[in-house]
Subunit: 342 residues, 2 copies
């Protein structure tokens, strides 16, 4: 008979597996098996243990399980922002993909900072996660070293990696930036401006796509670029619209690196009496909910955020299970949504 209450108790006061086992009249490890691997146990025993669990209100202690099994059942997810709807939709996809699997999801907000990312990863390592879902392709040397040293399964989200070994789920930010610029060129625009903020890697890749299209068309002009490091907001979009027009007054179209900036640019045009799109075409990136509804509706790039999260989590789970994935890179593509604003 297991001794259940020690004298100078350090016990937590919670119901333990040992108590459940005693109540069911079995060994602790038998109770453990009845709960964790019910198939390896007789029906009668399963029922007996389950009854004891219910009567006692037993809740397994995850820390003890993690320690004994050296399997944390934790997945860490790092996103650069929680105020950006793009990433909350990614998170929704991740949660739906992992829902049934008893994974604990640790959500970290790096705030677009490498230092924050390092700190979060270092902290999450204490929880010994089974794998990580990271946003973006580029990470600080320190992060790369930590990840390599721990042989942590990692799936990168949002962009496609050039490295075929790397697990990544997303779409080509470069191609999307290129496609939107081509669309504007095909509409006859010649002085197409690019407004970029935050200057995270995705914005930079979109800008590269824009530049490639402009160079190939023989229309590149550095005056047509407004790039700032501040976070993208509607207010900033309004401000940068002004800066662009000051810098390139003959600008006939503006490609904003995301919808927030584009919304701000359009609202500012309305306040200044600039007709969109007849005087100035404006387009964005991501297709946020408001973009289809505002007046004029916004021409933008639709991106598969939810699916990125879902597929990335599914891929990570299969890798954690030791499976060899059919594809290490999953390109989910993008959709150009041609609407009224451009």
């Amino acid at each position: 008979m297991t001794k259940i209450q020690a004298g100078k108790s350090r016990a937590s006061g919670r119901i333990t597996l040992a108590m459940v086992a005693q109540r069911a009249g079995v060994a602790t490890m038998t109770a453990s098996r009845a709960i964790s691997q019910p198939d390896m146990v007789s029906q009668a025993l399963r029922d007996r243990v389950q009854q004891a669990v219910d009567e006692l209100g037993y809740v397994p202690n995850r820390a003890a399980r993690a320690l004994a099994s050296s399997q944390s059942k934790v997945i860490a997810v790092l996103v650069p922002s929680l105020s950006n709807a793009v990433f909350t939709e990614v998170l929704a996809g991740i949660q739906d993909a992992l829902d049934a699997d008893d994974y604990q999801i640790l959500i970290g907000n790096t705030r677009y900072s490498d230092r924050e990312e390092e700190k979060l990863i270092a902290t999450y390592l204490q929880s010994n996660p089974d794998g990580m879902l990271l946003s973006g392709l580029t990470h600080s040397p320190r992060v790369q070293q930590i990840l390599a040293a721990n042989r942590m399964p990692v799936v990168s989200m949002m962009d496609m990696s050039a490295d075929p070994e790397r697990l990544s789920v997303g779409f080509s930010q470069f191609q999307a930036g290129h496609a939107m610029t081509r669309y504007l060129l095909d509409k006859g625009h010649k002085r197409i401006g690019f407004i970029g903020a935050q200057l995270d890697e995705r914005t930079l890749r979109r800008a590269e796509g824009y530049r490639k299209a402009m160079v190939d068309a023989g229309l590149a002009d550095i005056k047509l670029e407004v790039m700032v490091g501040e976070p993208s907001t509607i207010a900033l979009g309004a401000e940068l619209l002004g800066r662009m027009l000051a810098q390139a007054p003959d600008c006939d179209a503006i490609f904003c690196c995301n919808d927030d900036l584009a919304h701000g640019a359009i609202y500012q045009c309305q306040r200044r009496g600039i007709a969109v799109p007849s005087q100035l075409a404006v387009c964005g990136f991501n297709d946020l909910p408001a973009s289809a509804w505002m007046n004029p509706s916004l021409t933008t790039i639709g991106t598969p955020r939810y699916r990125i999260g879902f597929e990335a989590a599914t891929l990570l789970r299969s890798v954690i299970k030791g499976e060899q994935p059919a594809h290490r890179q999953i390109d989910l593509g993008f959709t150009l949504m041609a609407r009224e604003s451009a």
Copy 2:
């Protein structure tokens, strides 16, 4: 000398405290103290242990610590939505408040479902959280019972509780709904409609505030209410604007229970050629970033989301530490933002 490698090893392969201690030439528990309670240890020892930690790249195992100390350093946070900017700002406040304290934050999305909330709480209990931050005042009997049985410190966010014992941080949803309606009445509107969606407890409280003001003014009319259980979106706001006008064609103002619905209503007015506010006043609730920028700018209620998260987390932390809080209820108030739309 501690035996470091057993034969049939179940070891995780990670660096352990015992290895650090051996390298530093001290006992394991001395190393533990040097790390966790550096003040209780000599400077020389502290340095020696720190050096061993650095050389070995030691990362403490959180599961082991939690198990041994029966302190998880986990705080669980439940919000009804991650796609709603209101709650992501609450989360930002929570994270900032808890940042320095080595707390692991578990973020759960209940999707406005009591069943989901029950499931998440049951799951989080496995991690033995030190406390919980819950959204809203009303919870299912099962949740209440679980929380009581575990004597879990809980702080409720978003609304003010009528129960003085209950820890809550927010503002009065009822008063805010009442204030906005009074504002419209004072502007001379008589046929003021209310559009409510999701019908979560906050929306219902706002509606009660609306009704009180209308009844007191002798202007209440059930025809002026459109209430649906679907999630609030811009698209739904556009649709419900139509339903309201069909149901109460003489309606001269509409109070939408949140900004998303109000945005949709205004966009729809623009499409139908209804002038806002001259033909129809429209106002919202929450003051999302777009509300100040759109044309017309939106009259709405500014709510202290970030501060709610920050103060709620601060309060919870003090309660976890065993402190007796000066105030169990923290009313952060709201601000009526009078703009162009109403």
